[in-house]
Amino acid sequence: MGNFGQLMDGFAIALTTHHIMVMVIGVLLGLVVGVLPGLGAPNGVSLLLPLTFTMDPISAIILLTSMYWGALFGGSTTSILFNIPGEPSSVATTFDGYPMAKRGEAVRALTLAFSSAGFGALVGVLVITLLSGWVANFALRFGSPEYFGVYFLAFASFIGMSGGSPFKTLVCIMLGLAAGTVGMDTISGEGRLTFGIADLTRGISFLIVVIGLFGLGELLVTVDEGYKFDGVKAKLSLSVIFRTLLELPRYWVTLLRSALVGCWMGITPGGPTAASFMSYALGRRFSRRGRFFGKGEPEGIVAPETADHSAGSCALLPMLALGVPGSATAAVMMGGLMIWGLSPGPMLFTTRPDFVWGLIASMYAGNLIAVVLVLTTVPLFAFILRAPFSVVGPLIAIICVIGAYTVSNHMFDVWLALIFGIVGYVFKKLDYPLAPFVLAVVLGDKAEDAFRQSMLSSGGSLTVFFETPLVGTMMGLGILLLLLPLLSLLFGAIFGRGGGADAGEAADHQTSRP
């Protein structure tokens, strides 16, 4: 249990007054971001990131992760009270949360959501605590071919497990990689894909991509869908909250299953959104009360919420230990780490243990703070949401525009963000997945470097990727995942038209309508 001692050191760093203040501010900002549709966790973190450049990295990452927790929690508030998911990952919470709230059990639904979310997050952080050191140690043996193998595996699993059209995922990943290659080539020093435009030699920042795709794009989708609040009033009563908390252990099967699903989907880059849908589907399939799902069944809230949050926190494990983020938000944070001069990956555990363990310790504290704050601020945010969208929308729009400008103080970036906004709108409506796009922008350079360094060391022979059992297994798995859609299509054709593909498409369709 070497990790335990380090975790205690981490707590000593995280539990200072300064850092607890940072957590409270981060969680509150995150709640705002999570509650407002059109402002999501990835976008919120991107907007805040340029403001943290002057902070010390530990405070900065605590601020950003706290905002992430806040956003994850805030998304559920609107799902339950207004039937409007504030975050794509809380779509599944609306299915049972809103019916329950309509029945007059809003407080019970909210408490269930927040406490199971807290449980999910706790499991996620425990997994990080127990596994991250081990994974990092394992990854210390990685050379560039292994790293390329990991990146390849990450992208392949998006294509193989996307549920939607694999070709759309492919196009998104490749567009992201293309955006990442614009600018100076790290190895030869040549400018690439700049077409003689001076502004492009600086490259396209992943922050601009996120602000465009997730911020402006989502805003346009919200306008398009015509946005109406049909809110349910919630009056908090402590006795209901306590009774619901006592009720929670009854759902231990659902809790554990959902947490497992979440951890798995968070570590492999499935992300919280996919995790919550999958957990909801599994709950409906396996729960004894599965047929009541969709009509206001408590387990229908517990399942997606637990998975959403355990996936959300587990997504930080591969980011820290391997340098491969498990979700769009984790990708943004990883980009932040690189800007602060830290290189995510196994070396971080030896060079900056204070940073890593301070961060992990702050996850425990941050989630606890988030559960308390989210419960106490429900009336406040319910009030904010009564403001019409025609007022809130323009305010979000200027936040995005200013955010794009502050990335590097160039108006050119704002234009790029507008373009990415339109792209994000069209892609979202056509069910192109956006998370792999962002992941590819952040990872593009590193993936290419790993590839070219392996080529340099092997003298240009591709066999280097299959030489050792480790890298060979990763590449093999990746190729298998790439072929997965094709295989399932074949199986479908042989064994009649399976419901699997349809269900995946339906879930994907629902994901795209926040």
């Binding site: 340029p50 403001l51 002057t54 059209s165 070709f167 759309k168 492919l170 196009v171 490749m174 567009l175 990689l177 293309a178 290659t181 080539d185 190895i187 030869s188 040549e190 690439r192 894909l193 700049t194 077409f195 402006l216 805003l219 346009l220 306008v223 398009d224 015509g226 019409p388 025609s390 007022v391 929308g393 323009p394 305010l395 729009a397 200027i398 525009v401 200013i402 400008y405 502050t406 103080n409 108006m411 704002v414 234009w415 507008l418 069209v426 892609f427 409506k429 056509l430 192109y432 290419e448 590839f451 070219r452 080529m455 340099l456 003298g459 240009g460 038209r497 349809d502 498409e505 369709h509």
Partner: protein
Amino acid sequence: MEISRNTMEVAAAATTALVGAVVCYGSLENGIAWGESGPQPGYFPFCIGSLIVAGSLANIVYTLWKGAARASAVGPAGEAAGVVAAEPFIDGTRLRQLAAFFLPILAMVVISAGLGLYIGMALYIFYAMRVSVGYRTITSLLISAAVVLINFFIFETVFLVPLLKGPILEYFGIY
């Protein structure tokens, strides 16, 4: 004006294919060959561009194939596809709403590029509150002033991140 989902699918895929082609073309400048010590700088982008083109073409084929299948097939398969396709990508009303929301943002960016972000956002918020929401002129003015002041305070004072001021504010000595 109504745009069907299929039209948009094909248009989007054609656009991504075009982007892929541009990426391929751009990478030619850096050399796409396989040199002595591994690939040249353009090799990776060229592969990416080619994959974008290939994926986009596959998307077009898939859309057209699905459309054709729906036209001919009756039964569960056709029905399942029909659920998605019955909804148009966008209709006239929503397109106008979208334009009414997006064009002012575009105008704000154009103005901001010339006159600075604060003036751009002031005009934009005033327009949005006065015209889109329909608040009274005085209310709209107050909101817009409040937004500018809050942003000025947050960015210039708290975080020391200067936003673009533009010639007018600079004339008045605000940098």
